[in-house]
Amino acid sequence: MQNPILKVEGLKKYYDIKGGPLGIKVGEVKAVDDVSFSVMEGEILGIVGESGCGKSTTGKSILRLVEPTEGKVVFNDKDITNLNNNEMRKLRRDMQIIFQDPYASLNPRHTVEKIIGEPLLVHGMKSAKERIERIRELLEVVGLSPYHAKRYPHQFSGGQRQRIGIARALANNPKLVICDEPVSALDVSIQSQILNLMEKLKDEFNLTYIFIAHDLSVVKHISDRIGVMYLGRMVELTNKDSLYDNPKHPYTQALLSAVPLPDPDLRRDRIILKGDVPSPANPPSGCAFHTRCPYASDICKEVRPEFKSVEDNHFVACHLYG
């Protein structure tokens, strides 16, 4: 059996809300509220959820681009939550991220060569000749040409830019790559190219992905296991097939029923949720989903359901499966 490359335990990220002239803390936004999961070496873990549910914050907290408020991130059996800046910098060689917006994540004043070469330089590849060689290699790997190296980001299309972002992430042969909605900013016709590229690269370089997305079909296509998030919490985590065939959490069921079917003659009962997502600054007591859940009972309002295994490798946080 594979080993977990990454373990996240009780991860929390609260943002303080400050008010008044003195900037006194008047509350907090619970962007990520006690999330735990582990990622096996070589797998693709998908994380889905509505916008604002904390999936990106989770990804960035794992890399400590956003300092987690509480919780533990263990990477390769090493607790990285308390590493100092210098140790963390060295570790970034092994943990990389691909950003959502290929227009915002590349420095507009740097050439592609510089963008891809800089991580090599800061991690000790001093020789310019070696770097250029590696940049050429990386550009070819992601499907661009070596002559693109001298160009600036604005001279590329969205898909090409995302390829540059991928090349940059792969520059130092990372083990884990967090993909923060890497295709959601792209044209649908380009999305599949990038997804296929990412799958190819995963096999080629033995990568592990955490794939964050809000598009259920994209996640279904690429992931091995999928975690569903709602209001800063993980509500369900299981294999792709059991999630899509046998969703347990009422939120997952509602979410999946919203995926359009490709056949116009097929009808399916959609579960329409009432109301809006509650504010993460003031989440509901007990189960965060009880305000919209069709099966909610009294216990849901009071006790926060534990995130536990109900079947083999099928984790759910719901009182229905207590």
């Binding site: 590349l106 999305q191 590229l197 799958e199």
Partner: protein, 311 residues
Amino acid sequence: MKRHERKPKDTEQPLTNPINREEPADEEQLEAISSWRDTFRRLRKNRFAVAGLIIIIFFLILGLVAPLLTSYSFQEQNLANRLQPPSGEHWMGTDDLGRDIFTRIAYGARVSLQVGFFAVTGALVFGTLLGIIAGYFGRWVDMIISRVFDILLAFPSILLAIAIVAILGASLQNALIAIAIINIPIFGRIVRSRVISLREEEYIMAARAQGMKNGRIIFRHILPNSITPIIVQSTLGFGTAILEAAALGFLGLGAQPPTPEWGQMLASSREFIQLAPWTLLMPGLSIMLVVLGFNLIGDGLRDILDPKMRN
């Protein structure tokens, strides 16, 4: 949902020739390249900026070739020739000590432009450094630096300059230091606000994710992207610095006689305003023109470099 049925085999196709498959970057984006040449091309279209540039170049040349333009010395007195009106011999007349005003204006251009240059450079270097530190590190560092800026800005700038010169002693050099100091918070605040907005950019976060040190992020990523407002403020600051130096000179706190400083020239001929108005008109006009020139360029650059103004 076709793309999800695509088998990995198909991926080879788009990968071998990805460039043609994706739409090329459109013309508009290519147009937005902000290179120096591009900036200069647009600067030339802005008539006011061109006028400003011509004025500044005129004074620059005037200062540079001053010894060639006149046979008089800027400090040699000729009391027999006091307060002569402009003539073929003395283009701008002479002052109360019989010195050729044109000569003094030309040498004065050297002084003023030097003051502008060094005062702006000083303010720029320290202001930018402090602004970056405040904006990038935030929290209490920002708190302290910003409050110091606020204190400096709370005083009318000339009053503060007078106080600083009073402490250091009256000389052109000290006036220059005072002007640099009062301009530090102006640069500092611009840079700070720019850094704060850049810090939230995804490519700065990407740089951190790559494992870059703060120094590299600041000097390679943040600074180059905040250069535009710094350039604009430097140009505008040039004019302000010259004006402030002239004011200090006028008050007797800047350049000391016989240095041909325009503000000081104004002060020393103040009493002859009715008898010999050219003694005031010429240095006054020079100050006005130089300051106007820098402001015109500064305004022009601000319009040109502002991405929102492009069409």
